[in-house]
Amino acid sequence: MNPELLIALTIGAALFGVGLYGALSQTNLVMIIMGVELMLAAALVNLVAFWRYLHPNEISGQMFVLIVMAVMAVEMAVGFGIAIARFRSRGSVEMEEARELKG
């Protein structure tokens, strides 16, 4: 048995659920980015927990965490770039009003 790992993974699962709910339910682009951030944070918790409780001598586990942090930064930069462009052309970042992107 491995109770610490179970606690960490449970918290990761809960964060993922909350993030998924947020990403789907919010109408605003910035809030959707927040939901995605929470889901990535859940992934971070799981990665660190796996590193700590299963393979503490494999430092590649920590490197994965760094890569996920880089992904979070990239996601924010691109998301905000799109948000600014959208706000400039349409005056809002409400996703309900972005039906024309459906094609």
Binding site: A14, I59, G81
Partner: protein, 172 residues
Amino acid sequence: MNAEMIFLTFFGGAAVWFGIVVFRTHSMVRSALALLFSQTAIGAMFLVMQAEFLGVLQIMMMATEMSVMAIFMVMFMMDPGGLGAMDMTHQKRLSLWAGGVGLVAALGLTLGVDWGPAALSVPSASAQIEMLGIELLGRSMFIFESAGLTILTAMVAATMVAIAPQDKGGAK
């Protein structure tokens, strides 16, 4: 129940609680800062799990990221202070179901798998930092460099998308 489990539960609970607050408060600045404190609690969890460098890095990076998030919220939202208490959600039932199904699936996987025994000893914090440095600039250098290049590209691309189109005269 040892000290490590108690602290993990405490900080994890704080992270989840602040994560829920993000989508429940009407004030946009509060929601961005709730996300920040959720991420900080996750950084504290890393510290409890003896990944000192990663925990400190997480706590440092998120302070910046989420403050930037806060100013974007204030810039783009109609009611950043949340005094009007407007509803900004859609497809609530679907999202609740999706979140619930995701949670249950992940929990089922967590509890259903035999993870084997816990590893007891961890390299010391300074040894970890040294190993991580050697890993980053040795075996995983290519991956790390590509991540850096990706960030640079994203920065340039995002700036290009966001920059105001120049009026080169004659358009009037």
